[in-house]
């Protein structure tokens, strides 16, 4: 069974996240210029300003879902006319704002003076931020990132860099503050250091039994969204990787009798983390990795780290804009997944088909076929909405997962 005892890194995570939310509320109250950003907008940019802070509605939505108030906030958005078919992150955020931050685990987010969205994960997000743009009457800057089917084109990288420069100018103009690129360079170093530790942490999944569960790694993603470019960020991931290495040295594993090593494709099922990890552990199964966490710190289609090695930070930031799964095509997704599956010694893949997130899900049927055929690995598809618990049927999902375990078992018998 997975241990429910909080690790040192777990406690540290709670502390830095609590501090982070308190800090942004406090600084906003003291007059800082507040920007709401999409998760893929490189937050290190804001380190170049004296008094600009950012908040991430997607991260807040994930936290809300993990704390059990996702469906409640979704309903608030639905009541004011937003369709239940829209992405649950968007509904949580719109519902939270509509109700003045009530029921939010972080007391909502400080009111923004500017919005910065991008369309690399999805252009739905631009429509979502437009809702606030109109409601709040504040500017909305859109970073346009060309989707890629093969490695990012040089031309697209330059185009993205131009936009980052434009964004800096826009913030300078609106906040009245000057931007200092040296501070961005410094922030990039912290991020890069943290990313190296993150990759070290994820690589411990290759151990048998795995030193981590994907569920832990999902939770541990939070600083990527809210603390990039800070010393706390680098320090947190150092602590996490060191601690996990120590657990391996002490032979303490989340699923000690691990028989089935699974891989997860799609966003974390935030409302199911505890249930799902416990239930799988009872079956001696562990989800040891996920495309959602493996793509961080890479470039599109790769499993390998891609770290900042000096030079123009804007160029590096632009180069990593297609890294996350949604901004690139199926061939690249499959390449990275195959590499992860082989490196980590995965027995089976769970494709979580997520009607809330079409960009992540629409290629999954074909990708599943590809993985099964080329890698000879059994896979299963279950329906999960990442943040709206009302759209998840436990029984159907576990029936399918049990079937997956049976087919892994059947494969083993055949081989032996």
């Amino acid at each position: 069974m997975t241990s429910q005892v909080k690790t040192e890194s777990g406690r540290h995570l709670s502390k830095i996240m609590r501090d982070c939310y308190m800090d942004i509320h406090q600084r906003a109250a003291q007059g800082a210029f507040v920007i709401w950003i999409a998760i893929n907008v490189p937050a290190e940019l804001f380190a170049g300003f004296d008094n600009v802070i950012y908040a991430v509605p997607e991260s807040h939505a994930a936290t809300s879902a993990a704390k059990g108030v996702g469906a409640l906030q979704c309903e608030k958005a639905e009541k004011i006319g937003y369709s239940m078919d829209l992405c649950s992150y968007a509904r949580i955020d719109i519902g939270t704002v509509a109700d003045g931050g009530n029921d939010s685990p972080t007391f909502g987010l400080p009111a923004p003076q500017m919005l910065v969205s991008d369309n690399n994960n999805c252009s739905l997000l631009v429509k979502w931020f437009d809702v606030h743009h109109r409601q709040m009457g504040i500017p909305h800057y859109i970073v346009d990132v060309p989707f890629c089917y093969s490695p990012q084109r040089e031309k697209d990288r330059k185009y993205i860099v131009e936009q980052f420069r434009g964004l800096i100018r826009a913030i300078e103009e609106k906040s009245g503050q000057r931007h200092d690129m040296d501070r961005v360079r410094e922030a990039m170093q912290y991020t890069s250091e943290g990313l190296a530790h993150w990759k070290r942490f994820l690589s411990l999944a290759a151990h048998r039994p795995s030193a981590i569960t994907a569920f832990d790694s999902f939770v541990q993603m939070a600083p990527f969204l809210t603390l990039r470019g800070t010393p706390q960020f680098a320090e947190h991931y150092r602590l996490l990787a060191d601690e996990t290495e120590q657990l391996v040295a002490d032979s303490r594993f989340p699923v000690p009798n691990e028989k089935y090593r699974l891989f997860w494709d799609n966003i974390a099922p935030w409302h199911q983390l505890r249930n799902m990890s416990a239930r799988l552990a009872q079956m001696d199964a562990n989800i040891i990795g996920a495309t959602y966490t493996q793509c961080i710190g890479t470039v599109e289609g790769s499993f390998q780290p891609h770290l900042y090695a000096g030079g123009d930070p804007l160029d590096y930031m632009a180069r990593t804009q297609n890294a996350y799964v949604c901004p690139h095509g199926m061939e690249l997704r499959s390449r990275a997944m195959a590499e992860a599956v082989e490196t980590l010694g995965v027995d089976g893949i769970v494709f979580a088909s997520n009607r809330s997130c079409k960009p992540y899900s629409i290629t999954q049927i074909d990708q599943m076929k590809q993985m099964t055929e080329t890698l000879g690995i059994p896979a299963v598809m279950i329906d999960v909405d990442h943040a709206d618990a009302r759209k998840f049927s436990q029984e159907t999902a576990y029936l399918r997962i049990e079937a997956l375990l049976e087919s892994i078992e059947a494969g083993r018998v055949t081989v032996s």
Binding site: G81, Y82, L86, S123, Y149, E162, G329, I365
Partner: protein, 372 residues
């Protein structure tokens, strides 16, 4: 398998380019001797999509599912290539599915893509969108020349732009005829949708003929007893039974803000010999559509202006189920319209839109409200 229009198109000897919605560069394909068809809906009704269902989940919109089904089924053999731009999150994931599927079927399809800059209006000074688009179109022209052995000519391009201006102008005239009740709205939709499967020259002849007939049969605006005038808005027009239910409830459809109709023919820029320049203007100055992200700020005013010009007092939003672009805007539009005294009704049109009895009741109640 194919209807007469498609057969004629195939017999023309031109290579057929299946264009993903929403607003592909039809003029360019036509100028290069290719036959573009926009894959919105298909010559034959498509109530089921078995070929698509083994690739796409049922929460993809009906446009994507039908398009995929058409290309992956035998009917797709009529297509020589596919074109797409970054119109939406669902569509951007389809090219590789289609490439794989057609390769597996032994008829690999070339897929041509361009990226259309979606930066906000106020950001034009930050990035060279004109240069970006010019570059994308230069690449596209080169790919078309290599793949199909055709050649670009600036002269033919300008000529083609003029032909499409004629087509759009004819559509606008027919649109007005429908607004005046001189042609039933459902017939008007059928006419415009039929043109998708015709060559540009055939479209001009066909639309001219329909318009002449309309003028002859019904030269004056038709007055019938109506309870109110409404505008239809959506990606696709609703199915014919829904249109009939709207008109049957006493409402006149005085205009539309539909992607396959008015949004597509409302306006186009002046002819230009340079595709980069032309398409920069074409997309940046397009009639607002939720998929053209940078047009969002103009959408309400444009819609209201159309409503006023057509003397409508209600809007029916025919929402394409699972199209986030449309759905995100509804609450805002509804609230603003309400404040202007305009009634709104939101209908959800799903893939299996078999029964309209529930919709009919809502439409009738809405008609009473608009009339009241």
């Amino acid at each position: 398998m194919y209807n007469d229009d498609l057969i004629r198109l195939l017999e023309s000897g031109r290579k057929v380019i299946g264009c993903f919605p929403l607003y592909p560069p039809l003029e360019l394909f036509d100028a290069m001797g290719l036959a573009p068809v926009v894959l919105w809906r298909f010559p034959e009704p498509m109530p089921e999509t078995p070929a698509s269902d083994s690739h796409l989940q049922n929460y993809a919109c009906s446009v994507a599912r039908r398009l995929t089904d058409f290309i992956l089924s035998d009917a797709g053999g009529a297509i020589d290539g596919v074109f797409m731009y970054n119109a939406c999150d669902t569509l951007r994931n389809l090219p590789e599915i289609l490439e794989h599927g057609t390769r597996a079927a032994g008829r690999p399809l070339p897929v041509h893509r361009v990226h259309m800059p979606m930066v906000g209006c106020g950001q034009e000074q930050d990035v060279d969108t004109a240069g970006f688009i010019a570059d994308e179109f230069a690449g596209l022209i080169q790919a078309l020349e290599t793949t199909y052995g055709v050649v670009f000519s600036a002269e033919r391009f300008e000529k083609s732009i003029r032909r499409f201006e004629t087509i759009r102008d004819l559509c606008r005239q027919l649109d007005m005829a429908a607004a005046q009740g001189r042609i039933p709205f459902a017939d008007f939709v059928r006419v415009v949708h039929r043109t998708w499967w015709m060559s540009a020259a055939a479209q001009v002849d066909f639309l001219t003929g329909v318009l002449a007939e309309t003028r002859e049969v019904s030269p004056e605006p038709v007055t019938r007893k109506i309870t109110g005038r409404v505008l239809l808005s959506g990606i696709l027009p609703p199915p014919v039974p829904v249109i009939e239910a709207i008109e049957g409830a006493g409402l006149a459809i005085a205009g539309n803000d539909i992607a396959t109709l008015y949004r597509a023919y409302a306006k186009m820029p002046a002819p230009a010999a340079d595709p980069g320049r032309y398409y920069h203007q074409f997309y940046r100055e397009h009639f607002p559509c939720p998929t053209l992200l940078y047009t969002a700020d103009e959408r309400f005013d444009t819609l209201l202006d159309l409503i006023r010009r057509r003397g409508a007092s209600g809007v029916i939003f025919a929402g394409e189920k699972f199209c986030e672009y449309e759905y995100f805007e509804y609450p805002y539009l509804e609230n603003r319209l309400k404040a202007e005294g305009i009634h709104t009704l939101r209908l959800e049109i799903a893939m299996a839109d078999a029964s309209i009895s529930a919709l009919r009741t809502r439409i009738e109640a809405f008609a009473e409200m608009v009339g009241g």
